[in-house]
Each structure stands twice: as structure tokens, then as C-alpha cells.
């Protein structure tokens, strides 16, 4: 029992070491800054300017865009960048399991997403008259959405390539459509039926719904349902990422 506990502690330390290394190296990499910071900002401007949307309604949607892009921008960069820089093989020879690497990557993406999401949240509360009805729900929504999108980022990084640009391209190919089918740009009520069907498959739908609920807006799903679905999406992405990374390693080496 003691041995198991010790191994669990050692494994957690390895995972956190991977996360710290990622934070030191990747938070300031150009692709992360461009797609994780500038992109949500530009999307915000495109969405807000000249559309006459009530400022208070902007905050939950911008939070959705920000968490999606920031939390999922670190993960896709790490593995291909390390393959390109030839540090990945060194990591594979160390006593870290693939779980340590994947969870470490997810934690670093999650923390980055959470940190950056505070910016639109604070701006919304201070300057856009957003009224936070349920801080606890918002906390859980940020937590679950951050983890889910970070796991999605890790899944995309499994693409067996040494070119980070290839993975970033794939990431945008996945993230952009999500914006249009998740009730951010087009309200749920105005979506055609077939888009609504697609929206059920997008984790962003449930994240934005939780953000809207936190700010007292009407919502389409019960918060509990959205939370459970986000947990399920996260579990799916993590398991899929493990499988895809394992196969990617077999293809690359």
C-alpha cells in the first residue's frame, strides 16, 4: 500500500514537472501568443463592433471564445515542437509514462486558459456592466471548459508530425467551426435545425451555456447536464489522446 502511495506521489511529481517545463517554454511561443491571445481578442472585436449587442451579453460569449482558444493553444504546440527540436525522444527515454506527459500537457494548457480567461472576465465585470449571478457555477464552468479544451488540444497534438504548423492548422480547422455551431455568433434559437443537431456534438455549446447561466442569461440546458457532458467530453478527449499519442509514437519511431 505504501509502495502504491509512493508511486502515486512520484507520478504526480513527474506530471507536474512536465507541466512546469511546458509553462516555462511554451506560454511565450509565437503560435501560442497568436492563436491563444491575439486571436480571441480579434474575434472579440469582430463580434462586438457595430453589431449593437448589449455589452453585458458579450462577456459569457467572449469567455467561451477565450477559453476555447487559449486552453487549446498550448497543447497542440508541445509534442510537435519537441519532436522538431529533438527533445521528445529524450523525454520518452525518461521514467515518465505517456499519461504523465499527456496530463502534464493538459494541466499547462488548462492553467494558461484559466489565467487568460480572467482578462475578459474582469473587463466584462468592470467595464461592460456584466452581472455575475452565480460565481460558483462560473468557477466550475471555467474549470470544466478549460480542462475539456486543453484535452482537445492534447488530442490534436498527437498528429504524427514534426511540424508545429501542421498541428496548428488542424487545431484551427477544428476550432473555427465550433465557434459557429455553439451559440456564440448565432443564437441557439436562430440556428437551423441541422446546425442545432451539430451543436449538441460541440463541447463549446455546453461551456457557453454554463457561462450564460452564470451571468443570468437564459440557457438551453440544465447546468448539471452541461457539467456532466463537459466531463464526458474531457474523458473522451483524454483517452483518445492517449491512444492517438501511442499510435503516433509507433509511427514516428
Amino acid at each position: 500500500m505504501d509502495g502504491l502511495k509512493e508511486e502515486l506521489i512520484a507520478s504526480t511529481r513527474r506530471t507536474l514537472a512536465v507541466s512546469r517545463k511546458n509553462a516555462r517554454i511554451y506560454y511565450v511561443k509565437p503560435p501560442v501568443i497568436i492563436f491563444g491571445l491575439l486571436f480571441p481578442f480579434v474575434m472579440f472585436l469582430a463580434f462586438a463592433i457595430g453589431r449593437g449587442i448589449e455589452p453585458a451579453l458579450l462577456t459569457p460569449r467572449i469567455l467561451g471564445v477565450t477559453v476555447l482558444f487559449t486552453a487549446s493553444s498550448v497543447g497542440p504546440l508541445i509534442a510537435p515542437w519537441e519532436r522538431m527540436m529533438k527533445t521528445y525522444e529524450r523525454l520518452l527515454t525518461a521514467p515518465v509514462s505517456l499519461w504523465n506527459i499527456i496530463v502534464g500537457d493538459i494541466i499547462s494548457g488548462f492553467l494558461f486558459g484559466l489565467l487568460i480567461a480572467l482578462v475578459p472576465l474582469v473587463l466584462g465585470l468592470l467595464f461592460f456592466d456584466a452581472v455575475l449571478i452565480s460565481p460558483l457555477l462560473l468557477f466550475f464552468a471555467l474549470l470544466l471548459a478549460g480542462l475539456c479544451f486543453s484535452a482537445l488540444g492534447s488530442l490534436m497534438s498527437a498528429l504524427p508530425t514534426e511540424l508545429p504548423a501542421n498541428v496548428m492548422m488542424l487545431a484551427n480547422l477544428v476550432r473555427f467551426p465550433l465557434l459557429f455551431i455553439s451559440g456564440i455568433f448565432i443564437p441557439w434559437e436562430e440556428m437551423p435545425n441541422w446546425v442545432q443537431l451539430l451543436a449538441y456534438l460541440s463541447p463549446l455549446t455546453y461551456a457557453v451555456d454554463l457561462f450564460r447561466w452564470s451571468f443570468g442569461e437564459g440557457n438551453n440546458f440544465q447546468p448539471g447536464v452541461s457539467c456532466i457532458l463537459l466531463v464526458l467530453f474531457t474523458a473522451l478527449f483524454i483517452c483518445w489522446a492517449k491512444w492517438a499519442h501511442q499510435n503516433g509514437i509507433k509511427k514516428m519511431y
Binding site: 513527474r14 514537472a17 512536465v18 516555462r24 527540436m85 525522444e89 527515454t93 525518461a94
Partner: protein
């Protein structure tokens, strides 16, 4: 006490139609320096990657200090220090941060980590640069840092894949010295190299792999002994003989190679060539300046076992 550090049994790995590693079996004795030689594409790096847990073999098994690499990779990898051929340090971290990261993922105690990092950086002449990001390091410095990283967990087995390839003389010497002193402390070293002279100097045992199969495993001395046809006699005359083609007509001489201002006469019994060599010199009016008998070089052994023995002898 466990006497075998590495046990590879019937390892196989196929990439498409190519069998990169074909039923490779060998053992490395604990406390030895084991050289792994082979031409490009022979399967050296793939074998090492299987042994260090990067590549999953299609078949076979690997034991590292008694731990199965396939069933308990984390346990097995804790016993290793690795300098892969295609590896790099983290360019965005300082030398110190690189070492601390390795200490963390190997779960080395913080105080021990700090001490080892300091000692190893001193040993490899990098201490003054410890707080510099490694993107500005030369290839030799990066390689030395990779070695420091490999030593952070005080491994039982050190895997080195072409550790001195492309380095300056000083870095090469430093790394070879480190290998010797590490081995002197009872540790095992698995050295993959192209540098035959390096293998000759450092290794207790050498395996030659060719086309994915182990061609031979033995000590450098026994390997040289094993191919008697490459024993030779090196002779230098006071001037070049006008009928040098006659050298290969001498009793017992199988072939002749010119090497600078001397001639290498290959023979299975070089001692018996000497009298006829004296006759030849007298007939040609030459004076023999020096004569040496030579065992085959490890390079010749290598070429022989990879099936390129014809390239050893450049017939005059």
C-alpha cells in the same frame, strides 16, 4: 548479485517491408562497456531505441537490470541514463533548468539534484554557463550537457548513441574520459558508435550488427584474432621498389596494400614472409628501413563482418 545488466532476446522490428531488427539476441555484462557497431541503416539506433523504451518491438523482450522494459517501462527506465543520437537539450531553458527538470522527472531528491547538477557541470566545464539559455551553446557544449542530464539519476546503465560524433577533440576526450571513469565505478555503458577506434579504446565487448542481424559479439582482441587472413607485415624500404608488383608474388603473401611510403603485405603467417622479403630487397638493391607485424585492425574486422572485406585490401 545480478550479473547481466541488459538482456535482449529475439528482438524484431519491421518498418514496412524492411526488417530493421531481426531476431537480435545478446546480453551485456554488468560493469562492462559494450560497443554496438554497424554501418548506416544496420539497425543500431533502432535496437538502442527498443532497449531504452522509445520503440516498441514487434517481437522479443528486453530486461534492464532484471526489469522488463515492455511490462514495466517506468521501473526499467529509472535504471537508465540515455544520450540518444537524435536528441537535444531544451533550448529555451538554461543549462541549470535542463538539469533540474531531469532531476524532477527522475524523482531525484532536491538536495541530491542540486549537488549532482553542480558537480556534473563542473566536471564537463559548463558551470560558468549554467544560467545561460542553451540555444546559444555549441554542439559540443550541448552534447556535454546531455551527458550531465544522463548522469543526474546516477544510472546503473548509461546508453550513449554516437556520443562523440562531430565533436571537437577536447569534447571527445572529455566524454571518453567520463565513460572510462564511470565504468571504473562499476557502471555499465552501452555505446553505439561509428568510431571504431573509440570502440577499440573503450569497449570490453563489441557487437557488430549488419542488416538487422548480429554478425558477431566478442572482445576487441578476440575479434582481431578471429580473422587471421588480415594479419599483415608492414615494411618500409629506403626507396620505392621499381618492381613493386613482385611483392605479391612473395611466399605466403595474399595481397599487398600501399600505405604512405610503406607497404602492407597481408598473410596468414606473416613471420614466414620475412625471409623472402629479405631476398626481394637484396635482388632489388633496397634497404629495409623497418618491418612490423600487425594484427588486423578493428576497422578491418568490422568490414569483414559486414561483408565488405574486399574494401580492406586495396590491391597494388
Amino acid at each position: 548479485m545480478l550479473l547481466t545488466a541488459i538482456k535482449a532476446s529475439e528482438l524484431s522490428k519491421r518498418y514496412g517491408k524492411v526488417k530493421a531488427v531481426d531476431e537480435v539476441t545478446f546480453e551485456v555484462k554488468r560493469g562492462s562497456v559494450f560497443g554496438f557497431l554497424g554501418p548506416n541503416g544496420a539497425g543500431k539506433s533502432t535496437t538502442q531505441r527498443i532497449l531504452t523504451g522509445v520503440v516498441y518491438p514487434d517481437g522479443g523482450s528486453v530486461e534492464i537490470m532484471g526489469e522488463s522494459m515492455l511490462r514495466h517501462p517506468v521501473r526499467a527506465k529509472k535504471r537508465l541514463g540515455v544520450v540518444p543520437e537524435q536528441a537535444n537539450v531544451y533550448a529555451d531553458l538554461t543549462a541549470w533548468e535542463n538539469l533540474m527538470f531531469i532531476g524532477e522527472i527522475y524523482n531525484v531528491d532536491k538536495q541530491v539534484s542540486l549537488r549532482r547538477a553542480e558537480e556534473n557541470l563542473e566536471l564537463f566545464g559548463l558551470y560558468e554557463r549554467r544560467n545561460y539559455k542553451t540555444r546559444g551553446f555549441s554542439r559540443g557544449m550541448k552534447q556535454r550537457l546531455l551527458l550531465c542530464m544522463a548522469l543526474m539519476n546516477d544510472p546503473d546503465i548509461l546508453f550513449l548513441d554516437e556520443p562523440t560524433s562531430g565533436l571537437d577533440v577536447e569534447s571527445k576526450q572529455l566524454i571518453r574520459q567520463m565513460i572510462k571513469s564511470y565504468n571504473a565505478a562499476g557502471k555499465t555503458v552501452f555505446l553505439t558508435t561509428h568510431d571504431i577506434e573509440e570502440a577499440n579504446q573503450l569497449c570490453d565487448e563489441i557487437a557488430i550488427i549488419n542488416k538487422g542481424k548480429i554478425a558477431v559479439i566478442d572482445s576487441p582482441f578476440n575479434l582481431r584474432q578471429s580473422i587471421s587472413r588480415f594479419q599483415s607485415l608492414q615494411v618500409t624500404f629506403d626507396r620505392a621498389p621499381s618492381n613493386e608488383y613482385l611483392l605479391k608474388e612473395l611466399y605466403g603473401v595474399e595481397s599487398v596494400k600501399r600505405q604512405g611510403d610503406s607497404y602492407v603485405l597481408y598473410s596468414q603467417q606473416p613471420g614466414k614472409v620475412i625471409p623472402s622479403l629479405g631476398d626481394f630487397a637484396e635482388k632489388e638493391g633496397l634497404e629495409i628501413v623497418s618491418v612490423n607485424t600487425q594484427q588486423p585492425s578493428l576497422e578491418e574486422v568490422f568490414l569483414y563482418f559486414i561483408g565488405k572485406q574486399d574494401e580492406v585490401i586495396d590491391y597494388t
